[in-house]
Amino acid sequence: MPDRRRVGVTSALLLALLTVTVVGLIAAGPGPRDRVAELEGQLRCPVCKSVSIAESPSETAVAMRRSVAEQVAAGRNDAEILQYFEARYGEWVLLDPPAQGRGVWLLVLPAVVAVGGLALVLTRARRSPAVPELSDGDRDRVAAALADARTRRYQDEDDEP
């Protein structure tokens, strides 16, 4: 094929660009973890509607944010801090239910649906009979017929009933 060289060049270029992207991202690594912000996002604001304390302008949320920052500064770990708030406000305050006990359902059910759906899709596909490759002559004929049909169709457009 005449344009095989061009294909090779674009493929190499593509590979190079993707390498730059991936290497660049890996070299930069994940940014520093902002534990305070992460924890704020997991705690529900007690006086608002379904937003976290990170997103709420209310005074309660401001006080809770201060408390989170203090506890992080004091060196307590994430689980301890979340437990502290759970003890004060109840399980309700955790926007991300822990994956133990009944919280497991939130992981198991989507997984079951995903696997079941995938199995269904895969079993739907039937083995397709091998399709014979066309000879170059046939290919050219189909291409010519298509090109012809295409031009004709757009020319005739206004005549359509």
């Binding site: 509607k49 302008p57 926007l95 989507p110 649906v113 066309l134």
Partner: protein, 683 residues
């Protein structure tokens, strides 16, 4: 008094007409020889008249401050501006159900126009089912959600609508758009049920509901975007999507409806997925009812409070009837209607559609699960739990990436069977463009994996669409290209929606990873450095308006020494509410949004939240493009559309299936829209 009576009469007329439509509709199915079209037409006229009278009466009552009408007394006030008096009609439950019946009556009238005679069993059955649905909603308005109760001692003034609902212009259009979407899904539901009941095989019901379905979907898309915009511009918490149950209730049917739009194409083009389409349509309609139940009863706040108003149990009961009745009929009839054909290969357009359906259904399931989990936990154990952003984001992000991938491959894959070489050929330039952008972003210093990945996929999808357009055109004149867009509305409307979604994904990734935020407490004259600007608090003023008191703080935003913007976020105090409602000030430029929201304002000292969101406009533009793509697909002259609604024509349109070699050759050498012609249009 007169208005209440007139409104009530309208509702009664509508109720009687809906019952009549259902009765005459089902009777016409059983004894077509005794039925006439007039027996169907008169009830529909009655429904439309009744709903129009009810809605218009409600608006007149609101505009004329007729506090003898219970809804007006509860949801309006003399001081409310005229515009918000009009929108007060859908600011509370009873009025919004009146809007619902008005929209439903409109859709029923549109269906009636399609039904030329009682011999059209599919259409007659659909009308009968629409009559059943309408009976429920008119029944709701006439009993437990009656806005026209007459108050013996009318109050001198009312409390006015909910403060949040009279704070911004977007509230005037967002709910009606959402309802046009929600209610519109009744049409495909009614046709699907009718196809099952009358044992009508084939794709007739899909073709006949294509318009209504696309219109409903487009309105729902627009409603979702405007809802997010309203949340961003009005609520002042700095975000646009909170995974709140009310938002999820609108998102879940949108996801299943999107899946249906795609799987309907597969059935029309390839004759498979018949049963699955019934399931999706039933599910979508049931989810709109469930969503209304979730938002209109306070079940989400607490399981035990949903019986406070009888509307909750009524909607839940209707939901159960729809699910049980619908799926029973489906189980009885679908096996006989199901298509015998099977998928030939997963590596094909229909395979991509199947993957898309799997992902969208999973997405809908996950959002539904997260929304209902606290309800079920409370019902069974009494414990109060929450499911919020961390859970939804963790689930939604990978599913959305997979959807973007499917979006990049699917539309450029031929039907039946594709080979790797062909796909590689079609997608190589697009991938090259995408990786050029991603490498450029990384070199420019962007370190967010999500942003870089979305940018790559976004560029590739846009580039692949453009390549598709150019290669299917005989020449590159704009007129020719536009003609292709116009003649293959289904395909190109879909591509426009895809490009819109890609912009939305980009905005979501950028706002999640590249936004900045700070909180500051400032005295008058003090400044804070933020996002390359200096923000100075220069004072505040109090404005007394008829319906509220506004305290607006003034901030100077300077870049270097130039004042580039005066921001005026405010706190609005409504007489009926203790807590002030904060209105943020959003300064949008093509580069970024600077968002200033007050949290408190007392004696010369303000607390503000400042946010910087780069490229925020792409979210709204992308969202509206999604809706625009849907409308584009609907458009076009009905004359051409009518031409091949018969199954025979559909067969003729499909590629000849006997000669696999030739079909494969066509698939290899051509691009899908050109080769497969206009059947796609109506898919």
């Amino acid at each position: 008094m007169i208005l209440a009576a007139a409104g009530w009469a309208g509702v009664m007329l509508g109720l009687a007409s809906s019952i009549a439509l259902a009765v005459f509709g089902f009777r016409a199915l059983r004894r077509p020889d005794r039925a006439t079209r007039g027996q169907l037409q008169q009830p529909v006229v009655g429904m439309v008249t009744g709903a129009a009278v009810a809605f218009i009466t409600l608006e007149i009552a609101l505009l004329t401050d007729d506090f003898a009408v219970s809804f007006v007394a509860g949801n309006s006030s003399r001081a409310t501006p005229v515009l918000f008096k009009l929108t007060a009609a859908w600011s509370a439950l009873e009025g919004s159900i009146v809007l619902w019946i008005a929209v439903l009556a409109g859709f029923t009238a549109v269906v009636l126009r399609q039904v030329r005679s009682v011999d059209d069993r599919l259409g007659v059955g659909a009308l009968a089912f629409m009559g059943l649905v309408a009976t429920f909603f008119f029944g709701l308005v006439s009993t437990v959600a009656n806005p026209f109760e007459v108050l013996a001692q009318p109050p001198a003034d009312g409390p006015g609508p909910n403060a949040l609902l009279q704070n911004h212009l977007l509230v005037t259009i967002h709910p009606p758009l959402l309802y046009l979407g929600y209610v519109g899904f009744t049409v495909p539901f009614a046709f699907a049920m009718s196809a099952l009941l009358t044992r009508t095989p084939g794709v007739d019901w899909l073709r006949r509901t294509r318009r209504a379905n696309l219109v409903a979907w487009s309105f729902l898309s627009a409603g979702l975007v405007l809802g997010a915009w309203w949340s961003y511009e009005v609520l002042g918490w700095g975000g646009f999507w909170a995974w709140d149950p009310v938002e999820n209730a609108a998102l879940i049917p949108w996801l299943t409806a999107t899946a249906f739009i795609h799987s309907a194409v597969v059935q029309v083009r390839r004759g498979i997925l018949q049963s699955w389409n019934f399931v999706l349509v039933l599910t979508t309609f049931a989810l709109t009812i469930l969503g209304t139940f979730l938002t209109r009863s306070s079940v989400v706040a607490s399981v035990h409070s949903f019986t406070q108003s009888p509307v909750g149990p009524a909607l839940l009961g209707f939901f159960v009837v729809v699910v049980v009745g619908g799926f029973t009929l489906f189980a009885l009839r679908a096996p006989r209607l199901a298509s015998p054909d099977r998928l030939e290969s997963l590596a094909s357009r229909e395979g991509a559609f199947l993957v898309n359906n799997l992902l969208l259904s999973l997405f809908a399931f996950v959002v539904l699960l997260g929304t209902l989990y606290p309800v079920f936990v409370e019902a069974f154990t009494g414990a109060q739990t929450s499911v919020g952003r961390p859970f939804f984001d963790r689930m939604a992000v990978p599913i959305s990436f997979a959807l973007l991938l499917a979006m990049g491959v699917g539309p450029f894959t031929p039907y039946r069977a594709a080979n790797g070489r062909l796909l590689w050929e079609r997608l190589r330039p697009a991938l090259l463009a995408g990786s050029l952008v991603s490498a450029g972003l990384v070199v420019a210093g962007v370190r967010s994996v999500a942003v870089v990945a979305v940018a790559l996929l976004a560029t590739a999808i846009v580039a692949a669409s453009a390549r598709q357009l150019f290669t299917s055109a005989p020449d590159r004149r704009p007129a020719t290209l536009f003609r292709i867009l116009r003649r293959q509305r289904g395909y190109w409307g879909g591509q426009v929606s895809h490009i819109g979604l890609v912009l939305v994904a980009l905005a979501i990734a950028v706002s999640a990873d590249l936004s900045e935020r700070t909180t500051a407490t400032l005295r008058q004259g003090e400044s804070v450095e933020f996002g390359g600007y200096t923000v100075t608090y220069t004072g505040n003023e109090t404005i007394q308006r008829s319906h509220r008191t506004e305290v607006a703080a003034e901030f100077q935003i300077r870049e270097g020494t130039d004042v580039v913007r005066i921001a005026g976020p405010s706190l609005n105090q409504y007489p009926s509410q203790q807590q002030a409602v904060a209105t943020p000030s959003v300064w949008s430029t093509p580069r970024e949004d600077i968002y200033v929201a007050l949290t408190s304002l007392e004696d010369g000292q303000v607390s503000v939240n400042l946010y910087r969101y780069p490229l925020m406009w792409t979210l709204w533009a992308g969202g509206l493009l999604v809706a625009a793509g849907g409308f584009w697909a609907v458009g076009g002259s009905p004359r051409r559309r009518v031409r091949d609604t018969t199954p025979a024509a559909a067969e003729a349109n499909a590629p000849a299936s006997s000669d696999a070699g030739a079909a494969q050759a066509v698939a290899v050498l051509s691009d899908p829209p050109a080769a497969q012609g206009e059947g796609q249009d109506r898919a």
